[in-house]
């Protein structure tokens, strides 16, 4: 009369209890197995990130000096009257505009042809990867020899009667940024070539054979078949190199030009380093770091939106 049959009650509650237990088990497993990694992530990634924001609000002129909270004053200075920052921003934009496509697209093409495994591909793969095995100071010394007033580049130009094209490459305001950017391109192509080789090697050969039978040439296969198929990975590589150019490329500026002559090769990454370790204005350097963080996020979002495949 209003009392549910015994069997129906059992059938209704058993699934709910089972579901709760399963959910609990899943969450427990998640924390047990992911917890250590999450803790490490929190300590070594989240905390420094949060600290960067905090330090950017300080007037702090050296690790052993006392700090004073000055609110957003560092940002005000950054955006309203620091001409070095605006120059660095422009130089960074130029460097990314040149080096990002200048590195990734050639690497993609070279990776594709390597993946065809023509005779000698193993040797070429090693040759392409060799710049990665050189330490940054070694690469800088190599390019110093090229860029000196009596270096190899000017020597060759003179030999071919092109003396008018010789430059003091690293000390000329018109060429210093390009000279540093060329180092980035040279050092990066090989690494990404090998990455693309690894991914493109997994594309079934039957696809190429079918395309060839349809009359497509290798260039068409590359851009009309392979590129769309690997667009997601291409986007990941773009993001990786974008972040490298934003921050890591500062090492070549440090080794070759120190941002000079004047500010002609000053980039955001190097400016951050200069403020932190040379001028020792830690608070201001972290304000630059926060700006770079958001520029990095925005850039990665744009790349992701442009390269995400919609099925």
């Amino acid at each position: 009369m209003g009392v549910m049959p015994r069997t129906q009650t059992t059938e209704t509650t058993r699934p709910i209890k089972h579901l709760n237990k399963r959910v609990l088990t899943n969450w427990l497993s998640f924390f047990v197995f992911s917890g250590p990694a999450l803790i490490v992530f929190a300590i070594f990634m989240l905390y420094p990130l949060a600290n960067m924001f905090h330090v950017s609000t300080l007037d702090w002129e050296g690790l052993i000096k006392p700090s004073v909270n000055i609110g957003l004053a560092n940002y005000e200075k950054l955006f309203t009257h620091d001409r070095h920052f605006s120059t660095a921003l422009l130089n960074t934009a130029i460097q990314i505009a040149i080096a990002l496509p200048g590195t990734i697209f050639p690497a993609f093409i070279l990776g594709f042809f390597l993946s065809l495994r023509w005779p000698g591909y193993r040797i070429l793969r090693t040759v392409y990867f060799s710049p990665v095995m050189l330490a940054a100071p070694g690469v800088s010394m190599l390019f110093l020899g090229l860029y000196l007033p009596d270096g190899i580049i000017n020597f060759l130009l003179r030999q071919f009667g092109l003396e008018s094209l010789t430059h003091v490459w690293l000390a000329d305001v018109n060429t210093s940024l390009l000279a540093v950017t060329a180092v980035e391109i040279w050092a990066g192509i090989g690494f990404y070539t090998v990455l693309f080789f690894g991914v493109l090697s997994n594309i079934p050969r039957e696809i190429y054979e079918a395309a060839l039978m349809e009359g497509a040439n290798l260039w068409e296969i590359l851009w009309k078949i392979v590129f769309p198929m690997t667009l997601d990975f291409f986007g990941v590589v773009l993001m990786l190199h974008y972040m490298w150019l934003l921050l890591g490329a500062a090492q070549n500026v440090l080794l070759l030009t120190q941002g000079g002559p004047g500010d002609s090769s000053l980039t955001l990454g190097f400016y951050l380093y200069k403020q932190a370790f040379q001028i020792r204005d830690l608070g201001y350097s972290q304000a630059i770091g926060v700006f770079i963080f958001f520029v990095g996020l925005a850039g990665m979002l744009v790349i992701r939106l442009a390269t995400h495949r919609k099925y």
Partner: protein, 423 residues
Amino acid sequence: MKNKVLASLLATLLLVIGAVPALAQDSTTISVVTNWGPDDPKGPVLQSIFDDFMAANPDITIDVDVISNDDIPTKLETSYLGGAESDIVMFNLLGPSLSWVEDGLAMPVTEYVEAWGLSDSFLPVALDQWTLDGEIAAFPLEGFNWPVWYNTTIFEEAGVDIPTTTDELLVAAEAIRAAGYQPFAIGGSDWTGVRLFQMVLASGLTQDEVASLFGEGGFSENDHAKAAVETFVELRDAGVFADSVEGLEFNTMNELFFSGEAAMMHGGAWSYGEIPEEVMDSVVLGGFPMLPDSPSAAPAWWSGFGAKGIWITRNGLEKLDAIEQLITFIYQPDMVGRFVEQAGMVPPIAGVEVDADLLNPLFVQSLSLAESDAATFVPLTELYIPGQVLPSLDSISTDIYIPGTTAEDFLAEMDSIYADYQD
């Protein structure tokens, strides 16, 4: 039998483990940070002194960490925060180190100079340079002089005399170029060019102006500074400096002069031992030609004792007895004499006797120049430049060598760096 062997081994192991801390307590380790490594003429000399000290003091070990000079301030700061800074730091008196005593990174050594019997050893001028706010900041070690080197063979071939004024320099440069040589080699892209420019600028200022302008800025409003920079720009545009000077640096500058291609160079005592003998015989040391209306009475050059000092840190104070032994050992005349004989270092102490036959001829020449009227010392600018200004000032100072840089723009740029610092 087996058990007895095992027991013996265990007992021996326990004895050794127990003895190690005891042994460690009996010996002291002094940690030293320096940039004087094997590639620096002073590096092997320093190591030989340390080796001799350790042989004479078996209970003291010296642990040397050789790193780039530019990295020493950062290393000191970061290790200080961890309580792990070296006991001794060997570094210059410029930039960041000007505030080390004030910040607690280094301990003043005034009382130790007196207590360890060194006050009569040091040259008064050396102690004066190292005295900041009434305290001796560190033990002066490396003296230097920094003259202009003139290749007399090239001058003879060009048919001109060594210039003593900038007007004569302009004439000489033209004649030297006509003879097929480069006039003045200098590293327009690095510290060598920066220091030459600052020395020339200082030669056009009074002592008070050097202290005021390099300490606080205001170059654009100072007539002497404006005149000096305008003259420097005139020299640049007239081709006094070697071709592509804005791209030259220390090594290429040396190469131009040492190969006999350039007639002049601004080189410090650290390079006396580098020049080939066949060129050395032609070299006469002197000052940079006088600017118009310069307060200097003779061509200008630099000398000082701020190139290297021995700084004692907070950790070093805990091993004061051992450090006293080390310091008094280093500053014995015969030990300092090694630096003089083998590395051409100007000694900061009196009473150093060396075998004149072992001395570098250019070094001997520089000591004679110091006692003559042929050149005059001008104030060292690095003693006044604030630590936070120094990197930016050095960075833009190379712009003066870039064709097209005007004196007015350059002076404004220098002042803006001081303005940024004061913000």
